[in-house]
Amino acid sequence: MAELLRLEGLSKRYIGTQALDGVDLAIAAGEVLCLAGANGSGKSTLMKCIAGAEAPDSGKIIWEGRAFNRLKPADSMRLGIEIIYQDLSVFSDLSVAENIAFHVIQARHRAWVDWGAVRKVAAEALRELGASLPLDARLGDLPIGARQTAAIARALTQDCRLLVMDEPTTALPSRDVARLLDMVRRLKMKGIAVLFVSHKLDELFAVADRFAVLRDGRKIGDYAPAELTIERLGLLMTGIAVKGEKAPVEFDVTAKPLLSVEGLSRGGQYHDISFALRPGEIIGFAGLTGAGRTEIALSLFGLNPPDAGRLALDGREVRFGSPLEAVKAGIVLVSEDRHSQGLFARRAIRTNIASSVYERQKDRFGLVFGGAERRIAERWVERVRVKTPSVDEPAQSLSGGNQQKVVLAKWLATDPRILILDNPTVGIDVGSKMEIHDIMRELARQGRGVIVISDDLDELVISCNRVFLIEAGAIAGEFSGPDLTVERLSGRLRQVV
């Protein structure tokens, strides 16, 4: 097979993260390559570099022997690279035919649209894929699988030579997965290269020629499907090298629960969630993105109010109307997206940390002076080891791991009784990750309750006493003691899919 695209030593940095670090990757015409990696491993950045949406800092992109320092979106389209993003980027309000044959509609030098040609081109593309869709249906009315088919058909009409698909199976029901694989086989026969980019590649074993694994911005290696099992792939993605030991903190299982949740439900998001969190316990929430884990966490934190169910703190029923009330009661949330939800990026570290305790620090007139702010911040910067020359620096100037520690410090300063952490270590370096795990255990040892939501099963296994599997908004399983292993969890997670 002739080599189509080769990436050499591709590197890209963002504030706080080395997204790509010298990645080499090659794909031949008619090859199906699966690029596997966990959240934050750099696969989206790699895809953006191929699409021309981002310029790599260094490295080369070589297309059929022609080397580029970077591609622009127009280059990438001209070369025949088609990207289908997770959201599919289709026009929901246009018909199937209009979506597929969009370039016919766009054709220049024409005063009106040749609807006959639109239908013909669309029908032809669908025939090549062996798919059938109602050409005149509004695309938004069709199920996700049909929309994806239309997106692939659209790529075909653009003389696509490399089709990149972002998380193609994540939201797809299993019968549609089979149809997708069938289409991919047809593309392959036409000599079109297909690059799947995903953290969930189990279904793709049947069709992939090769797997490439990314972790923390580096390529771990290329593997033939024959030499991989699903478990091995999972371990390669999450990284056995940095795997910590299973070291849950002991706690008094007979103690009165700190937080008890009974039958918590919210329409369309989650239902009948019940559990008890005891002092010193670390509970984990495993599950797929969109299973309702974040929504539950938000409800515990006074946002996203539940429709039904009880929430009791120390046996007393509580109801939070805002995060302010939750924080006052001692529940805090380190949210998943620290940039948009946790951090005041341009503000000083000192302000970031003290912002959670203004209410407590104020004097009679509602004033808080700089000295108080600084004292609090310096204490916590030292406690969680934020690496910075001074607390006056803007939070923006810190690395990702240290930014996360600032968010953590902000909440620790409130002396919370219950900490909820939503994917606390996504996209941060290994050292900071281990430090955050240490902090979690330390908090448990002090008798606080901790709830961790994580996509990183290893993270859950090494620090949690119990892990709940959340599936389609409900608790589908509980793992603890000897049952709590990465293998068990990932086995169960796969069944969910």
Partner: protein, 368 residues
């Protein structure tokens, strides 16, 4: 591996200060740009006009003419700190001024409480009305989630309409001499009293915003609205209070206008609206919210007044005046935004450098 105690990393290392010069403060930088420009303009004026400009009478008139505009710009700046805007400031000033004028020109009231009494009543009523109008803006923005731009556009028309209804569109004149006289009063025979009052307002408000929970919350909300909510700040209360203060400032400005012109009608000072926005931005207040120093609005207003007076002394034609005026504003903005970009770029570089340092240490720590 993870169980081993890792070496404590240097935390607030003293030496690090030298290696990685941190403190890249956008606010200080834009303040520096502002003051450098003020100095440059003053040098130009003094070279061009000399003592024709720099004489006590002219300087006094600069101070005398700026108070009402300074207060309006301050209100505008304050509303921009939260990432919003208050387009109703002029309408609030006019309506408050009309109320005060109505009260002071009602003979029955004058008979009842005397001149001083009626003046006090007018001032309290105007400021109270400003407060209510500001509270109204804030309440609508918070309760109904209508963007400030649209809310205040609507309330601007509402307040202007109310003012027209009260006056029938004609000006009210003939304020008590004590009220008008307060405007021309000078402290120690030099400093206009009105300017001293405005200076005090600026000093107090900027200090209050710096150290109060209200001010801190307002700036944090402007910086990142979602994070402010997630941090448990009292977002709604803060926003309502900020618009309430805008209302009071605007009303105070209305009172000053009333005293200066000895008359008030709807549509007074409409031209100030766009200029107030420009002044706030020039003073370094980020229209996206979260950045800026309110006090710097005052020197910016004075600078513009100096230029205005210089134009008049040099007797430039109104057309040339307008052109130079626009050009100056554009240059100011361009410089400000240019420097802001440089700061942003330097911060990125700094973060990357700091990022690479820990990953080395992490690699050593894991022994890979």
């Amino acid at each position: 591996m993870s169980g081993e105690p890792r070496e404590t990393l240097p935390v607030v290392a003293k030496g690090a200060r030298k290696r990685m010069p941190g403190r890249l403060d956008e606010e200080s930088l834009s303040a520096f740009v502002l003051y450098a420009m003020i100095a440059a303009v003053l040098v130009l004026i003094s070279a061009g006009l000399g003592s024709a400009f720099f004489n006590p009478a002219n300087l006094g008139s600069v101070l005398q003419q700026s108070p009402e505009f300074a207060l309006l710009s301050l209100a505008m700046g304050l509303s921009m700190v939260s990432g919003g805007i208050d387009l109703s400031v002029i309408a609030v000033a006019d309506l408050a001024g009309i109320l005060a004028a109505k009260i002071m020109t009602t003979p029955a009231l004058l008979e009842l409480v005397g001149q001083t009494g009626v003046m006090a009543l007018a001032v309290v009523a105007a400021l109270g009305a400003g407060l209510l109008m500001g509270l109204f803006n804030g309440f609508v923005i918070v309760r109904f989630g209508i963007p400030p731009l649209l809310t205040t556009l609507g309330s601007m028309m509402l307040f202007a309409g109310l003012g027209s209804g009260l006056t029938g569109g004609v000006g009210i004149t003939g304020m008590p001499s004590g009220f008008v006289g307060a405007m021309s009063a000078k402290l120690g025979g030099v400093l206009p009293l009105s300017f001293c009052a405005v200076l005090a307002v600026f000093l107090m408000l900027s200090a209050y915003v710096r150290v109060s929970i209200f001010g801190k919350s307002l700036f944090l909300y402007g910086e990142n609205k979602v994070a402010a909510l997630f941090t448990g700040l009292r977002v709604e209360r803060t926003l309502v209070l900020s618009y309430a203060i805008c209302g009071v400032l605007a009303a105070a400005s209305g009172l000053i206008m009333l005293a200066r012109f000895n008359s008030m009608k709807v549509g007074f000072g409409d031209a100030f609206l766009l200029e107030a926005i420009l002044v706030a931005v020039l003073a370094g207040i980020d229209p996206n919210g979260g950045r800026g120093r309110l006090f710097n609005v005052l020197p910016t207003v004075l600078l513009l007044q100096c230029v205005e007076n210089a134009f008049t002394i040099a007797s430039l034609s109104p057309y040339a005046k307008k052109m130079i005026w626009g050009g100056l504003l554009l240059i100011f903005m361009a410089l400000n935004f240019f420097f802001r970009r440089i700061v942003a770029r330097r911060l990125t570089t700094l973060a990357i450098r700091r990022q690479t340092a820990p990953s080395h240490e992490a690699a050593q720590a894991t022994g890979s």
